[in-house]
């Protein structure tokens, strides 16, 4: 087995200091970890399990149950397509198709160069603007497949 890559422990220490060391803190801690490391690295999860005194299998069961968590590194730009009902009937499937074509990704995957991760979300609650594409934090309402290249560019601009 490959030795586990080691991540900078500093952000984790800061996170753990903010919460009581018990099981009810687990999800909140994992959320902050995900935010700090952009995913849930295994070595970090190990430390979380030890500190909160939650068995490691239970940490993994929580980490794989909730959609907010990913066990693999995420791209620099996260492209989310809202697939809520309103978005679905106003053309979200076309948007997903278009992104799959442009990025050669299925939802949940990341490009090889780690530039983009494609995700679908079950409604972001901006249904009046359906369909929606969210590139990093930028919402594009009444989105059109033909304008997808422009949406993706706004995300790349953010990174640069």
């Amino acid at each position: 087995m490959n030795p586990m890559p080691c991540h900078d422990p500093a952000p984790l220490d800061g996170i753990l200091a903010r919460y009581p060391h018990d099981e009810p803190s687990l999800i909140q801690v994992l959320q902050d970890v995900h935010h700090a490391y952009n995913y849930l690295p295994c070595d970090v999860l190990l430390k979380v399990a030890e500190t909160l005194e939650v068995p490691l299998p239970r940490v993994f069961s929580v980490a794989t149950f909730y959609k907010a968590f990913s066990l693999s590194p995420q791209g620099k730009v996260i492209v989310k397509i809202c697939t809520g009902t309103a978005c679905h009937i106003r053309g979200a499937p076309q948007l997903v198709d278009e992104l799959e074509r442009q990025l050669h990704l299925k939802p949940g995957q990341t490009t090889q160069d780690m530039a983009f991760t494609l995700k679908t979300v079950n409604c972001v609650g901006a249904c009046a603007m359906a369909p929606l594409v969210i590139v990093n934090e930028k919402y594009h309402g009444n989105a059109k497949a033909a304008e997808m290249t422009g949406y993706l560019k706004t995300g790349s601009d953010d990174v640069r």
Binding site: Q31, V62, F65, A86, C127, G141
Partner: protein
């Protein structure tokens, strides 16, 4: 602005509120920019900055009585970004940053109207100046959303001046806990999260439950796709949630509370966190609330992004830091809920209603609505309707009034097909039932349910088989996997629907689907599984002919199922406007301006984007014949 000192009596509260009101009454003008999610997606942030810049350029600031505020969602998202002026009540719609100068120099300074920014009544073609004269707003009665859009959600003073915490002051300082429960009972308030359980009954059981440690929870895990009223309440008026929860805690004798907020709602977390801090500082939350000796505090817990966590027992497991798997419900949460202790869980909208009920009285609330469904209800009106947005109406309003009176009818004046309510646990209300009054009972009778208030309007371009497949796919992803009928039933059901939509449906499929649906309803552990077949059964009941077309004729009457239809352009009707060329994602359409365009079938993916944009009805679809690439006359 918050209270300088803690509020510890009714007189002090009223004096504080009077001071806030007098101060606000003396303002020359307030410019309210809607910064709800819909308007932000439309560029409201830039509009707000432009207005701020224009006001500063003219020396209009707080020192001379001019204020610019960012508010929560006004509801009329279709027309965003929205700018409301007070005290005049003038509403500007679809405002662009470049309009800021005119708004400030004409309207704010001189009181003159900028005509081109007014909403135009599509029927009379006349511009409407005032916010409350626009039919979309004029037809609403707002209780849970009473302050959203009117106040800056980050300003406690704004909320209090507009009536926040008045109900709580009355409850804590003038009433016994039993009297508070009696008032809620008199209001007839039922859970706004969907199931419609009587709120007072829940509170009473929890009050009577043994044990010192009890919990008050707020369900802000608004998972139903197509619903966003809870998001707007938490973002636009977080103090209404805090107030309701304190009242509930006082009534049942709880000292700890949690708000469980969906992971996808970051702004709600920010605004709620701020509201809690402000309320604590003012003595409205935390230790010794209002000087009564009563302690209650609230913590925020962010969800992990799982639909099933909207289910009460799953939500409590998630709060405990565990996987959100539901429990069998033979034990009530009011006896053994969070950490196995007595717990009351109510929806965001329910909590917001509670404050208003304690302020105005249960009888006032019960004076609205129908025999068994009292008060008002918030809905998000979305889909293929002209005026999409957030609305609140008395229970019992007809679907027709909602879709045509407030919604302004179907987008592009296409034929109405159905309204989907209740999310993945609900169903579709067809055209024949448009005059049914909307309340808990009537929606259930129609084969749907209230749910969390999403109303998704569908037109003839919506395939009902595809809609059912959509919900199944949603539920396959969201089923927690604990019980077999839900986990495996959904998977098999989805496989059958994939076949139906791909033209591989067989005779007998409908009977098989109905049999499986019955098994899931009977055998599933929680309401997610038990109600999962609802979208299937309601579309089967009301739109059976569409299913038959998919199975027998291998045809999709709405032209949505891509494996069943091909699109083409009728040259005689095409005026060569190039609109479809721009809309086509695969570059399948070619042609010069003012010349008939041509669709290349080898590149076409049958997505229908061209059909939806063609102004001259030159794009047509037809059934795909067995020999691939062959065309049938349109």
């Amino acid at each position: 602005m918050s209270a300088e000192t803690r509020v510890e009596s009714k007189a002090a509260f009223e004096a504080w509120r009077d001071r806030l009101r007098t101060e606000r009454g003396g303002r020359k003008a307030e410019v309210l920019v809607c910064c709800g999610t819909g308007c932000l997606a439309n560029g409201a942030r830039d509009v707000a900055e432009a207005i701020d810049g224009a006001m500063r350029a003219r020396g209009l600031d707080a020192s001379v009585g001019f204020f610019e505020k960012h508010t929560g969602c006004h509801g009329f998202c279709e027309r965003g970004p929205l700018v409301l002026l007070r005290p005049s009540g003038v509403l500007y719609t679809r405002v662009k940053p470049r309009d800021a100068k005119a708004i400030v120099e004409e309207t704010v300074e001189k009181g003159q109207i900028v005509q081109k920014l007014l909403y135009r009544n599509p029927e009379t073609k006349k511009p409407v100046e005032k916010y409350d004269e626009i039919p979309f707003y004029a037809n609403q009665t707002r209780v849970a959303m009473r302050r959203i859009g009117q106040i800056d959600p980050t300003d406690l003073g704004d909320a209090v001046a507009a009536g926040a915490y008045a109900g709580m002051v009355r409850a804590l300082l003038e009433m016994k806990p039993e009297a508070v429960i009696a008032e809620v009972e008199a209001s007839g308030l039922r859970g706004r999260g969907g199931a419609g359980f009587a709120t007072a009954r829940k509170w009473k059981s929890c009050r009577q439950a043994k044990g010192e440690r009890k919990f008050i929870l707020c369900n802000g895990d608004e998972g139903d796709p197509g619903a966003f009223k809870d998001r707007s309440i938490m973002e636009g008026d977080p103090h209404s949630v805090v107030e309701g929860m304190v009242i509930g805690a006082y009534a049942v004798g709880a000292h700890e509370g949690y708000v469980y907020v969906r992971d996808e709602y970051p702004l709600a977390v920010v605004n709620l966190t701020l509201a809690l801090e402000q309320a604590r500082k003012a003595g409205l939350l935390g230790k010794n609330i209002l000087g009564t000796g009563f302690d209650f505090d609230i913590r925020i817990s962010r969800g992990g992004g799982a639909f099933v966590c909207g289910e009460s027992s799953a939500l409590m497991r998630s709060l405990e830091g565990k996987v959100g798997e539901p429990r069998a419900k033979y034990v009530h949460a009011t006896d053994r809920g969070l950490f196995d202790l007595p717990t009351v869980l109510n929806n965001v909208e329910t909590w917001s209603d509670v404050g208003a009920i304690l302020e105005h009285g249960g009888a006032w609330f019960a004076g609205m609505g129908t025999a068994k469904s009292k008060g008002t209800k918030a809905f998000s009106l979305v889909g293929k309707v002209k005026n999409t947005g957030l609305i609140e109406l008395p229970m019992g309003t007809t679907m027709r009034h909602i879709v045509y009176g407030i919604g302004g009818g179907i987008k592009d004046d296409r034929p109405f097909k159905a309204v989907q309510t209740g999310g993945p646990s609900g169903g579709c209300v067809p055209a024949s039932m448009l005059d049914v009054p909307v309340d808990y009972e009537k929606l259930t009778e129609a084969g749907s349910m209230m749910g969390s208030g999403g109303m998704i309007v569908m037109d003839d371009r919506t395939c009902m088989v595809d809609v059912a497949r959509y919900f199944l796919k949603f539920l396959v992803e969201e089923s927690c996997g604990k019980c077999t009928p839900c986990r495996e039933g959904l998977k098999q059901m989805l496989a059958m629907y994939e076949d139906l939509c791909a033209g591989r449906g067989r005779e007998g499929d409908l009977a098989r689907i109905e049999r499986l649906a019955a098994a899931m309803q009977l055998g599933s552990l929680c309401d997610l599984g038990r109600s999962a077949p609802n979208p299937v059964l309601s579309t089967l009941k009301h739109f059976r002919d569409e299913y038959v077309a998919h199975i027998r004729d291998k045809d999709c009457p709405a032209g949505i199922c891509r494996d069943l239809v091909i699109y083409d352009i009728v040259a005689e009707r095409c005026e060569g406007c190039r609109v479809c060329i721009k809309a086509c994602p695969t570059g399948a359409i070619t042609g010069e301006l003012k010349q008939a365009h041509v669709l290349d079938q080898s590149k076409c993916i049958s997505c229908g984007s061209c059909f939806d944009v063609c102004p001259t009805d030159a794009v047509v679809w037809s059934k795909k014949t067995a020999n691939a690439g062959g065309k049938e006359a349109a």
